[in-house]
């Protein structure tokens, strides 16, 4: 079973949560044989991840399919959790990841991911915030107003 958790303890707990839904076995009756962290095979190539999610909203359970562009599956899952929290106010315990997959470019559904499928991509950065190169050099007052043009 592939699942996402912040540490091993939570991972094991989540494992038993999902297993109880699949088989009639509890942590007290079962034995966890192995727990392995899966590392990304190619963390320097960009992939399009599709994530199928089942989540609990205030009025019931819903399914969703979401697409993310990221270097790693963990990164995409993290994006998914952040987006679900911000867009739908759904927190971690109410989200179940049904399936994840790397989607080839031709099968991507969302316009938001497809807009980056352009080998000659080119766009300007329209506003720039000039900031000190480290937090220790931050000052409360500045002599002049900021200029956000490029």
């Amino acid at each position: 079973m592939k699942l996402w958790a912040t540490n091993e303890v939570r991972a094991k707990s989540k494992f038993w949560y999902f297993l109880r839904k699949l088989q009639k076995v509890k942590k007290a009756h079962g034995q966890l044989l192995a727990i392995n962290e899966i590392f990304e095979k190619y963390p320097t190539t960009i992939k399009n991840y599709g994530i199928w999610v089942r989540y609990q909203s205030r009025t019931g359970y819903h399914n969703m399919y979401k697409e993310y562009r990221d270097l790693t599956l963990n990164g995409a899952v993290e994006q998914m959790y952040d987006e679900m929290a911000s867009r739908h106010r759904v927190r971690f315990p109410c989200i179940q990841i049904i399936k994840t997959a790397t989607i080839p470019v031709s099968l991507c559904k969302r316009v938001n991911t497809k807009q980056f499928h352009n080998s000659k991509i080119k766009f300007p950065l329209t506003t720039r915030k000039i900031r000190p190169p480290s937090r220790s050099l931050k000052t409360t007052y500045k002599a002049s107003r900021p200029n956000t043009f490029v």
Partner: protein
């Protein structure tokens, strides 16, 4: 309002925040609206937020999406990125700043002596001009 510097594959940018502050990198791909994949001959390919990048005027032309390290190194060298950066006004300014920050006390003394010498020559000429005028 014309934009002159674009995020594109082959654009050279300066990292302006974070542990790699001050490094020149090449944008080799765009992940999404906020992040780019950057690479440089002496670092591993990573992602970075556009907020941490300052785009420069230098581009490496005809760079394909996510080139291999070998291809990138050759393209970087043939486009003479480091030379263009060192000869640009921005690059020179940063080099001067770095030099000033790395001076030791004796160097600062030498700078002071040189400045005094230069200003004395200037003021001598100024004095001559004033006496001619008067």
């Amino acid at each position: 309002m014309v934009f002159r510097r674009f995020v594109e594959i082959g654009r050279v940018a300066l990292i302006n925040y974070g542990p790699q502050h001050g490094k020149l990198v090449v944008i080799v791909d765009v992940i999404d609206q906020n992040r780019a994949l950057i690479d440089s001959p002496d670092m591993t390919r990573t992602q970075i937020n556009f907020k941490r990048l300052s785009l420069t005027d230098i581009t490496i032309p005809d760079l394909s999406r996510t080139p291999s390290k070998k291809v990138l190194k050759e393209a970087y060298a043939s486009a003479e990125v480091d030379q263009k950066w060192a000869s640009s006004a921005w690059g020179k300014k940063l080099a001067v700043r770095a030099k000033r920050a790395s001076l030791n006390d004796f160097d600062r003394f030498k700078v002071m002596v040189a400045r005094v010498k230069r200003s004395s020559i200037v003021r001598r000429e100024l004095g001559k001009l004033r006496r001619e005028k008067a």
